[in-house]
């Protein structure tokens, strides 16, 4: 596991070095992601525990957003003053974006003769 953690952090660090050296406006984890993806696509060696580490980190991804959620309290006054525009923007734009995304994906996939797999809809 230490090898896998070191491996993963090294990619983020490499991302940070690139972002700083080239003064890129892209956040360093994204560069790290691209570098790691290129690394594994090129079939370069990876630590055996990398699969367990990535799966573990991503299986509770929503936990990592909790501190930012709590951070909204620092903007309580601002949000209270503008609750209607902010609330409506979030409540309308999010489902609209989901609906448009799903619709476009299905349409284009059908147009390419790659019809959707009609799995039964699971409850949830």
């Amino acid at each position: 596991m230490p090898a896998a953690i070191t491996f993963l952090l090294s990619f983020q660090l490499a991302g940070m070095v690139l972002v700083t050296a080239l003064s890129l406006a892209i956040p360093e984890p994204v560069i790290g992601l691209v570098l790691l993806f290129a690394w594994v696509r090129l079939k370069l060696p990876t630590p055996p525990a990398l699969d367990a580490l990535c799966t573990g980190l991503l299986s509770h991804l929503s936990l990592l957003f909790v501190p930012a959620a709590v951070g909204l309290m620092t903007y309580a006054d601002l949000l209270w003053a503008h609750w209607l525009p902010v609330g409506l923007a979030l409540l309308v734009s999010t489902p609209l974006s989901i609906a448009v995304g799903a619709w476009v994906f299905s349409r284009v996939a059908q147009g390419m003769n790659r019809p959707p797999t009609g799995d039964e809809v699971k409850n949830g």
Binding site: P27, D51, L58, L64, V70, L72, V104, A109
Partner: protein, 237 residues
């Protein structure tokens, strides 16, 4: 050491707020499990509200709380890098669908930014608020970077990103059921573009195929948004 002194001591230690954050999340997750995985019993929303209430009642400033919570927040970076892994493992099914994926990504992303900014602007929100809303569908580290570049408030954006994720995770199943979208790939990709990591977490709970497409869509959205934002920043707008 009396009780007040003990509190003062503990409140200064990062360990306490880190542990309380994990406890709150586990409590939220236990409720979610007990509800039979109902989307509206969202662990992030529950733990965020509980923690905010604790901070208000104990008169603790957010900066003091963050001394402990930063260790959880830090992991967003490595977790973003780790997204390369599911993308790699599912590349054969994903790469065949790059064209529909990319079309849906552009459409979903434009609708997300356009409608959020449009609604907030028309209803009279100030510029720093609607600018903070623009990157709300992208995962936090990228959204905060974009907000900073365009003149929004990065910390506010982080919170709006989380709110968007929770709303998307709650609404995606009933919404797409009502629309009759049965393709797990379409369902996953839509929630990944609109509701980033929290939507992706939800997609993995419902269906593994939906989860993979949600993760892919989130990654591509992050890349495209970061690139577009950096080009805009580069041209000085």
């Amino acid at each position: 050491m009396d009780r007040a002194q003990l509190w003062v001591y503990l409140a200064e230690q990062p360990l306490m707020w880190l542990t309380v954050t994990l406890l709150a999340y586990m409590g939220g997750h236990a409720l979610f499990e007990r509800s039979g995985h109902r989307a509206w019993v969202n662990p992030v929303a529950i733990s965020g509200l509980v923690l905010a209430a604790i901070l208000v009642v104990s008169d603790t400033p957010y900066s003091e709380y963050f001394e402990g919570a930063q260790f959880v927040h830090f992991l967003l970076g490595p977790a973003t890098v780790a997204l390369a892994w599911p993308l790699h493992k599912n590349w054969s099914s994903v790469s065949r669908l790059m064209v529909p994926l990319f079309c849906a990504l552009v459409a979903g992303s434009l609708v997300s930014v356009g409608s959020a900014v449009g609604i907030a602007y028309l209803l009279g929100a100030p510029a720093d608020v609607w600018l903070s809303l623009a990157p709300k569908s992208v995962t936090s580290p990228i959204a905060m970077g974009v907000a900073e570049k365009i003149g929004g408030l990065p910390a506010l954006t982080a919170g709006l990103v989380v709110s968007t994720g929770i709303i998307g995770a709650i609404m995606v199943t009933p919404l797409l059921d009502a629309m009759g979208v049965r393709d797990w790939r379409a369902r996953g990709m839509a929630v990944g573009v609109a509701a980033h990591g929290i939507g992706t977490a939800r997609a993995f709970q419902v269906n593994p195929v939906a989860g993979v497409f949600a993760a892919t869509a989130m990654v591509l959205n992050a890349l495209v948004t970061a690139l577009v934002a950096s080009v805009l920043a580069g041209t000085g707008t």
